[in-house]
Symmetry: C2
Subunit: 252 residues, 2 copies
DNA sequence: GCATGGATTTGACTTAAGTCAACGACCCGC
DNA sequence: GCGGGTCGTTGACTTAAGTCAAATCCATGC
């Protein structure tokens, strides 16, 4: 996880080869002049782990895409109960064309770099470049599927299944790891969330998260090395514990 | 709730003035020749309350929009646990361009009429008519917001708050009702779901749903007349019980 | 009217997860 | 090496919601 302490542009070279808005997210099929337009518009912002990117209700005059690091979308009730409603991983898109305030708190859970575009010109470009809108529709539909899968988890799974599901999802999102799961080999993952954030994501308390992790460890489903590093000796076993059928989950 | 028993086209006059795909959902801004294209492509299907429209995993070669009635999207675990992940009300869109199997069970909970389009020509038209894709993106973003609001409900609300939230949402979705809520007048709603379906939507058991409805009745928050008809004497009181801040919920 | 069956309610009891509180592990600055 | 703070674990107890089992309600057909 690379260290990027300031909150400014130009820490990343202007020819940002990995900028996901350009290469993976929005503009995968654009021709070069459109790429150039995007290039002119974009700027970068970085955040340290724990910093808030934006508060729900604040004015949000940009859309963005995660370059490195992880952020969460959180909803809060007046009495303080909190639910994480989305994880933002590299290449994920944030922000809604056609709305000018944030609907959720966005928080960096690791050090984070985002690639931003001012909303107005982005929207104009969406009109003139249909590919972008189409790509955005695809991504939004994927997010909707992920949200619905998560609704099943929140509404129907036990605490143990929730923890197993979370680990399975984190493993699957990691390309190098997912090759190993297919090969039936042991898998190593790094949890990008504190126990408290896991609890907020899974609709549990942090004590329950801790107890269920201990239980999965006791039962040999996972091994912990330190607080964040997990070894999964048998990924299929983890999937059984998650309550998903063998190949259902393709979340977040 | 109008009775439409068969499962066929042409029960609705071919000049279907209320077809939501044409008028409200997808094509709100189309010019007349595009309307004509859509007119050529569409057909209708009706279902009785309780019938299944399509099973998760089945081939789905159409997209559709609800004309009248209500349907649910349900996810099921192998052991039979079920979670409703979406309500489809009139004008809501179903189906995903770019995928050819259904991701969820779709079930009619009341008698239902849907307006369908074969997927292939619809997709072609999306490419040639950017407005449609843009409208679809907007609708998908609204659904995503609704799903995320529901995640907060599933993960953090008590059974009593869940029931109150459901009633508030049903009331708000009804235009004639929502005028009355603003005027501070008593509100009447008809529950479009059985107790079991409410339980599946709220992540509860049907016994808990029943008990909490009784409790809200006992406490004067609602009055029941029969099993489905609800009177809400004080809508703000119901909102307090729902745990939402005064104006947060704008859900499915 | 009366039997039938599905939907709903209610009661008695159980249990998974939450709450409150103490304790342990680790990191950082001095 | 020594506090002090954050994060995580564990234990003892409570509670909201689930489970199992009986009623009750009500629409329907005979």
């Amino acid at each position: 996880m690379q260290k990027t302490a300031t909150l400014d542009k130009d820490i990343i070279p202007s020819d940002c080869g990995d900028c996901p808005i350009r290469h993976r997210a929005v503009c995968a099929r654009c021709e070069s002049d459109e790429l150039h337009q995007l290039e002119e518009m974009k700027y970068y912002r970085s955040f340290e782990a724990g910093q808030t990117v934006i508060w729900s209700g604040d004015r949000m005059d940009f859309v963005a895409s995660v370059v490195t690091g992880i952020a969460t979308l959180t909803q809060t009730m007046e009495d303080g109960r909190r639910q994480i409603v989305g994880l933002l991983l590299p290449s994920d898109f944030v922000g809604r064309p056609g709305r000018d305030t944030a609907a959720y708190d966005i928080t960096a859970t690791t050090d984070l770099v985002m690639c931003c575009f001012r909303k107005k010109p982005f929207e104009e470009m969406m009109v003139s470049t249909p590919h972008i809108g189409q790509r955005l529709l695809e991504m939004t539909l994927d997010e909707l599927d992920a949200a619905r899968e998560w609704m099943l988890l929140l509404g129907r799974k036990t605490a143990r299944e929730k923890i197993a599901s979370l680990m399975a999802i984190i493993a699957r999102r990691d390309a190098t790891v997912s090759a190993r799961t297919k090969a039936g080999r042991p898998v190593q993952i790094e949890l990008p969330l504190t126990r408290e954030a896991m609890a907020e994501y899974l609709g549990l308390t942090l004590e329950t998260v801790s107890r269920q992790i201990s239980a999965l460890k006791r039962d040999g489903v996972i091994e912990m090395h330190g607080k964040r590093h997990v070894t999964i000796p048998d990924f299929d076993r983890l999937l059984e514990e998650s309550g998903d059928d063998s190949d259902g989950g393709f979340l977040v």
